[in-house]
Symmetry: C2
Subunit: 256 residues, 2 copies
C-alpha cells in the first residue's frame, strides 16, 4: 500500500544515472511524473555544476529536465548564507556551480575579511586556498561546507569528496562547519519551499541511505530507497530506521 | 635538584628559534653542551627541510650545528618504512626533506602500486596528489604520515599543518595513518639510537607540551619544558602529567 504523493524530491547520481551511465528506469519514471503533472525537483549534493549544466546532462540522457527542475547544494548554501547574514563578503573554495550560486544571491567573493568561508569540491584546490580558509575561520568567519560526502566515485576509483577537503580546515582550526547538503535537513527544507508541496505529501527518492534517506528522515518526510546505486540490500538490513519504501528500481514504483 | 644528563634531544622551533627570530639563550645553551662534550641531537617535526638545510639555518643563527646533529621526522619516516618493509615503492606527498630522506634510504618514489603512502607537509598540494594517495590507501598500501601538527605558525597566522592535510586521506578512506613525529615515541626511539645514549640518561627539551614533552613522556624519558615558544605557564598548569623540569628559558638550565 503506497500513498499518492503530490511532490517528489529526487536524487541524481545512483538514482537518475550512474556517473556517465544511464539508468533505464529513470527516464520512464520522470515521464510518468510529467504525464500526471506531479511536481518534482532534482536535489543534488554535487556543488560543482550549475543547474543549467545538470539539466543538460539529464536531457542528454533522455530525462526531461530544465534548470528550474534542479536544486543544488550550492543554491541551498547561497540561500543559507543570505538568510543568516544577507548579502556579505564570502571566501569561497569551489567550482563554477558554487561561485555562480553565490553571485546570483548577491554575495561578494573576496579574501578580505570575509563574513563566511564556504567550501565546496574544488579540483583546483591548493595550499593557498586552504590557508586563506583557515586564516578567515580563525579570524571569526562563519564556516560552511556544501556537503560532507567523503568520496566521489570515478572510473579510477573513489576520489576525495568535499567532506574530506573540508576536514583540512576543521582539523586545523578546531572548528566544525555547518554542512548544508544531504543528510542535513537544511537543503531538504529549502527544496520543499521551492517545490511548494506539503512535507507530508512529498516523497524523498534516492539510492544512498546515509545521505538521501537520512535527509528525508531528518526532515520528517517519507522516503523511497532504490537499489540502483550505493546502498545494497545487505547494508540496508543493518540500518535501525528503515526507509518508508524500498524498490529494486524505479520501474517498480507505481504512481497512481 | 637536577640530574647530570649524558645526552640531549632538542626541539627546534620555539626552543632554538622562533620562526626567523633568534632566541638568545639557545646558542649559549648549545655552546655549553659542546664545552662539556655532551652528545645532543636536534629533533624536528618539520619534514620539509633536509638536515643540511636545518644545520645551515642554525649556523646562521650562531647555533653550532652540522647535518649529523639533526634528526628530522622525514628521516624517522624513511627508517620506519625500511624497518617495516625494506626498500619498497612509496607514493609520497611532501617536499625536499621527505623526498631526499626516502631516496637516501633506497625507496622508489612512484604512483604505481606503492607499498606505502607517505604524507608530509607539501605547499604544492593538489587534488591529483590527494586522489593518488586515497586510491593507493584504498588499494591496501600502508598509510604513514610524518607528523600530526594541525597548524604551522607564519607571519600571516596559523596555516594548515601536515595533520590537517593528512586528514583528507584519513577522512576519505576511513583509515588512520601511522604518525611518526612527536608526540609519537617512534621518532624518539630512533633519535636515541642515533645519539647512542641511554634513555634514562637523556633529556628531551622543548617548548611544546603536546608534541615535545608528550613525546618524552611516551618514550619514558625525562623532559624539560622551556617557556620560549608555544606552551604558556597557564596552559601547563592544566596538564595532568607535568614535565620533569620547567624553565623560563634555557639560560636557567644548569649543565653540571
Amino acid at each position: 500500500m503506497t500513498k499518492n504523493y503530490q511532490g517528489y524530491l529526487i536524487d541524481l547520481d545512483g538514482t537518475m544515472y550512474r556517473g556517465e551511465e544511464t539508468i533505464d528506469a529513470a527516464a520512464k519514471f520522470v515521464e510518468r511524473l510529467n504525464e500526471k503533472n506531479i511536481p518534482h525537483l532534482f536535489v543534488t549534493n554535487n556543488s560543482s555544476r550549475t543547474p543549467e549544466q545538470v539539466a543538460e546532462k539529464l536531457s542528454a540522457m533522455n530525462i526531461p529536465a530544465t534548470a528550474k527542475d534542479v536544486f543544488t547544494t550550492s543554491m541551498a548554501t547561497a540561500n543559507y548564507i543570505y538568510d543568516q547574514f544577507g548579502t556579505v563578503s564570502v571566501y569561497m573554495i569551489g567550482e563554477e556551480g558554487l561561485s555562480q550560486a553565490l553571485k546570483d544571491k548577491g554575495m561578494k567573493l573576496s579574501t578580505t575579511q570575509p563574513k563566511a568561508v564556504v567550501i565546496g569540491i574544488d579540483r583546483a584546490i591548493n595550499y593557498e586556498k586552504l590557508s586563506n580558509a583557515c586564516l578567515a575561520v580563525r579570524a571569526g568567519a562563519a564556516f560552511i561546507s556544501t556537503n560532507a560526502d567523503v568520496a566521489i566515485p570515478s572510473e579510477e576509483g573513489l576520489l576525495p569528496g568535499n567532506g574530506s577537503i573540508t576536514s583540512v580546515v576543521s582539523v586545523s582550526t578546531g572548528r566544525s562547519p555547518q554542512f548544508i547538503g544531504k543528510p542535513e535537513s537544511v537543503i531538504v527544507d529549502q527544496a520543499l519551499d521551492v517545490l511548494g508541496t506539503d512535507r507530508s505529501e512529498t516523497l524523498m527518492v534516492g539510492d544512498n541511505y546515509d545521505t538521501d534517506i537520512m535527509a528525508g528522515i531528518n526532515a520528517e518526510m517519507d522516503t523511497l530507497l532504490v537499489h540502483t546505486g550505493v546502498t545494497s540490500p545487505r547494508e540496508l538490513q543493518e540500518k535501525a530506521v528503515q526507509p518508508t519504501y524500498v524498490r529494486t528500481s524505479l520501474d517498480e514504483w507505481k504512481i497512481e
